[in-house]
Symmetry: C3
Amino acid sequence: MRSLILGGVRSGKSRHAESLAQAVAGPVTLIATGTAGDEEMAARIAAHRANRPSRWNVVEEPVHLARALARAALPGGVVIVDCLTLWLTNILCHEDPRMLDTEVEALAALLPDLPGVQILVGNEVGFGIMPVNALARRFGDVAGVLHQRLAGLCDSVVLMVAGIPLTVKAPEAGRGHHAGRRP
Amino acid sequence: MRSLILGGVRSGKSRHAESLAQAVAGPVTLIATGTAGDEEMAARIAAHRANRPSRWNVVEEPVHLARALARAALPGGVVIVDCLTLWLTNILCHEDPRMLDTEVEALAALLPDLPGVQILVGNEVGFGIMPVNALARRFGDVAGVLHQRLAGLCDSVVLMVAGIPLTVKAPEAGRGHHAGRRP
Amino acid sequence: MRSLILGGVRSGKSRHAESLAQAVAGPVTLIATGTAGDEEMAARIAAHRANRPSRWNVVEEPVHLARALARAALPGGVVIVDCLTLWLTNILCHEDPRMLDTEVEALAALLPDLPGVQILVGNEVGFGIMPVNALARRFGDVAGVLHQRLAGLCDSVVLMVAGIPLTVKAPEAGRGHHAGRRP
C-alpha cells in the first residue's frame, strides 16, 4: 500500500500522514528531507519534530531518497517521506545537474517493489500564477511531472484542503488501474 | 449550520455564499471585512455591493470579526463573512502584533455557540509556488492554519472550482465527526 | 458534449484531453493557441507536438479562437483547444484593448451551438497567493471569470491533480442543469 498526500502549505499533510501511519500496527520510520538551511526552515523542522510521536525512527536524508527508502522499508512497517518538495528542491539545486534524473529514476524504479506501507508527502504548487523566476517555473514543471509519475505508482492519492483529505485516487481504483501489473 | 467556502480569485465564492443564504428563510447580515485602501480594492468592493441583494443588512468590520459575528447572529438568521482573507490581512498587518492571536482565538471560541447559520468565505492561497516575500509566506502559513481550524468547526466545507462547489466536507460527515460534542 | 479540463502546470491536462478525444470515433482537430515567443515556449510547444498523435489536424490560432472553432467543429468530430490560458494571455496583451471582450463574448455565444465534441484545456491559476504585479492580478481575475462562464456552458468539468481528473461537474449534472435549453 502506497499513498501520495498532496496539499498546500499548512494544509494538514503531515498530520494526515501521521494518522495513516497510526492506523497500521507496525513500526514507523520517518524520512525527513528538509535541511535547516535558514532560520525559517529550522523553525519549521523544530515544529514538525515537536508534533511527531517520539517512538518514530527518524532518518534525515536530503538527497538520496531511494537509498533511504530501500533501507527503511520493512514488511509490516510504515515509511513516511516528508516531504518530496524539499527533496526535489535539494536535487534540483544540487551541484551535480544529473542528480535530478538519477534520483527520480531510482525512486520510481524502487517504489513498486518495496515491502510494507509507504506514505509520500508533497506540496501541490501548480495551481497558482507561475512566477516569472526561471527556477520557480522549472520547479513547477518538475514537481508536476514527479507527482503525475508517483500518483501512477501509488494506490491512493489525496489532496489536502483545510486539513481534510479530498480523494483523488481511491485505493480500489488504484488496484484496478494496475491490476495487470501486479500479482 | 456553519459552512466554509474556500476558492481562488473569481471562483464564485461570494455567489455561492449568496445562494446558500437564499436557501434559508431568515434575514441575512453580511459582514464585509474589506477596506477600500486602494483603487483596486474600492472597485472590487463596489462590484460586490452591486451584485448583492439590497435587503441584506451590511456591517463593515475589518478587524473585530468575533464581536461583529456575536452581534449579528440570530436564531433563524444567516450571517455571511466575506471574506476571511481580508480580515486575516488586516489583523496580520495590524499595529498591535497580538491582534492576530487575540482575534483568531476569539473567533474559534465563539463559533460553536452561535445561533443560526454562518457562512464563512475565504481564499485558498496555498496551492501555488510560495513567493520569496516573507510577509506572503507568513500569510500563507497563517491562512492554512486558520482554514484547518475553521474547517474543523464547520459542518460543510467546499472548494470552489470555476464557479462550482467541490465538496470537501459534507454536512452529514461534519455532524458525524462532532457527534460527541453536540446535543 | 463539451468538456472543460482545468489543472496546474504539468498536471496531465493535455494527456487527459487526448484520451477523451481518442474515446470518440471521429476526426480530431487541435487548435493550438501558443506562439513560440521565447525559447521556453518554443520548447513547450515542441514537446506537446512530439507527444501528439500525428493524424490530428492542427490549427494554430493565438487570438481568434471562436472563428477557428466555428471552422473546425463538425458533427461527429472532436476539437481540442489547448489552451485557453495562452489565448487569454494573447488577447489580454493584444494591442487592441477591446479584443478581450470581443473574443470572450464571441466564444461564449458560439459554444452552445457547435456540433460534435469540444474539449477546452486551461490552467487553474487562482489557488495561490496573488502576485503584487498588476497584470498578473488582472490575469487571475479574467481567467477566473472565464472559467466560471465556460464551466456553465460545459457538460463536464474536471480539475487535474497529479495526472488524475477530479470531477468538478459530471456530464449528467451538466445535462440536468441545462435541460431546459437543449432538445
